[in-house]
Amino acid sequence: MQELLGRLSALDPGASLGLRVIACFDELVVGNVNSRALLSAAASLAGCNAGYCQDLPSRTMRVTPRGELVDEPPVAPPAGSSATADGLTVWIERSGPAHANDAIILERLALSMRIRHGRGRRDLDSRRALGLVLDRAVPVEDRRTAATRLGLAPGTRHRVVAAPLFAVWDEHPTAAEDVVPTPYGPIHALVVPHDHPPIAAGPIGVGVATTVEHLPRSFRTAVVALRLCAPPETPAVDADHYGGLIGLLADLPPDADQPDVDALAEVMVAPWGPPTVDALVRAGSVRQAARLAGVHHSTLQQRLDGIGDTLGFDPFDDGISRTRLGIAYLAWRLRTSRVLDLPAPGRSRP
């Protein structure tokens, strides 16, 4: 993977490789992989052997960048590229000057090995504090403690900003930040004050403002907002814009039965489907929708009739029907969201 990291930085010199290293080890910890797998990943990322040793019981392992075990007796851990904590030492065998990502690889390897071996606690590491703060399954007292460690004072209001690892930051706020595992993959999360000015970055989702105790909710709304992004047209979405709707969407189980969304998906197969439905949801009348969609109102009326047939209700029948269409449209956008799958960094850059 060192070679892949090299390609990444050649394709996009501004790409944050450190975050990718963090996300990589996060997934390994979530997957509960063994010591060899952790050392293989570190060696592969570094492009040189990685190893670990412990005292009680005495055990040593060295692994090549190809994941093969090295039989030879271990060399002494190289100074400057080893880390010891809780009776466990890890190292990478770099000959020559350290590479840019060595420190972060070593840090994540040490942390992952300690967790795998049941030594130390996750929260020994300050970066992990944000994962605790954003996890509603963590007792609120522990979240408060972790928030204090991050400098988030009780009583203050903040928002979580969610971004993919490959987001482009024209401006990067100074904030508590980390990579947090989610069902949609690792997400880059930052906590900014509630009145932070708009951030020049994309794609990003900005969560609702909450007190420190409710930051898990801000995070969940931020992830929904992020998934509603559709760059380049919509590089950033603010959860506030959708008010209470975003909370509904955030609480929707991923496997929820949604017949309105299934029916709407049939409409969206047609090339005119998405722009037409978008216009219908935004407009107050057929004429206004026609103007937004850039088509004649008779064309729009025709499409509206077809949409009504497919959905089984007329979206302009009454307020409830409009709401049904609006919610189905947002849920459809989430279901078909591609914003987390757009990691080609050089794509939009010269």
Binding site: E27, G31, V33, A41, E68, D341, A344
Partner: protein, 319 residues
């Protein structure tokens, strides 16, 4: 309906955090240029450094007599006739070069003493069907015709390829059978791209996740076949799943991930070879995304895949 699908192996899932930046899950035509840069192979001199392998480059007559480059990688110091491998590279028919993924097959040169020939077949969409497959077939005939000069045993010639290269290798085996071409002792089809129709269950399961999803596959096949993709007039040498008869083929080794779109077409191809009385060995790797041995060779799953493949090749090729 939300899609259910088998999950990725944890080590591979971790690898995706890095792989995703180089190889996005969904490749649309506007990304072909980016992919040609991101998937270009590292300099071959670096790959071969400190290996006892001699390389020579040749120009052969490809489809229509046009010049096509091939490289011959020979074990240094062996002058007797050696087993030969014609290798076809990966890259979705649209990108990659003849050294893409070559590091994984160099072991056959180093440890088995095989001569590896790799062909710079022309890429779609600039060169649609039949250019890629006929460039490959021309290389196969060139190896057979020049076997003596190249020091290759004509009775021990193998075709091998990964992904799009796996599909092209399978197509070569079909064409060699039908045209009375060079005899082959085996075909190694790594997660091969066999079917332009995109109708399998696994194709529908991987959309926007992993490596090479349904849309990427459509992009690749459309680049090759244009409007004829999925229609009645696609050649089985381009899309081997289209072949009506899979009898009389050389022994096949097929490996594929369980968490990739090609899972079901690879399984079906092996099944049809067996049904026709043929010889096939099939490995389906649980939790594997497409080409995981190329992107994450350090993982336990990839080491297992390479070990199984190398053992089969040793059985077929070794002295």
């Amino acid at each position: 309906m939300s899609v259910t699908r088998p999950g990725f192996d944890p080590e591979l899932k971790a690898g995706l955090a890095v792989v995703g930046g180089v190889f996005p899950p969904t490749i649309t035509p506007d990304l072909i240029g980016f992919m040609r840069r991101s998937y270009a192979s590292p300099p071959i001199e670096e790959t071969l450094r400190a290996k006892a392998i001699e390389r020579s480059d040749h120009t052969i007559a490809g489809h229509g007599g046009d010049a096509v480059a091939v490289s011959v990688l020979r074990p240094a110091g062996l002058s007797d006739a050696r087993p030969g491998v014609l290798f076809v590279h990966s890259g979705g028919l649209m990108f990659g070069d003849r050294f893409s993924g070559a590091d994984l097959v160099l072991a056959w040169v180093e440890t088995l003493g095989a001569v590896l020939v790799t062909v710079e077949y022309r890429l779609a969409p600039e060169h649609p069907d039949p250019y890629p497959r006929e460039d490959c077939y021309a290389a196969l005939e060139w190896v057979a015709a020049n076997a003596q000069r190249l020091g290759v045993r004509r009775d021990r010639l193998l075709v091998a390829g990964a992904s799009s290269g796996g599909g092209l290798a399978a197509g070569m085996a079909l064409a060699a059978r039908d045209r009375g071409g060079p005899a082959l002792c085996g075909q190694v089809l790594d997660y091969p791209m066999l079917d332009d129709r995109g109708v399998t269950a696994s194709t529908g399961q991987f959309d926007g996740v992993g490596v090479w999803d349904r849309v990427s596959n459509e992009t690749g096949w459309t680049a090759l076949l244009g409007d004829t993709r999925g229609g009645p007039d696609v050649s089985p040498y381009a899309a081997p799943a289209r072949a009506l008869d899979l009898g009389g083929l050389p022994p096949a080794f097929i490996d594929v991930g369980a968490a990739e779109i090609f899972r079901d077409e690879a399984i079906a191809y092996a099944g049809r070879i067996w049904a026709a009385g043929g010889d096939a060995e099939l490995h389906v790797w649980s939790g594997g995304f497409h080409a995981f041995d190329i992107f994450a060779p350090h993982t336990g799953l990839a080491r297992g895949m390479v070990r199984a493949r190398d053992a089969w090749v040793e059985k077929v090729l070794a002295d």
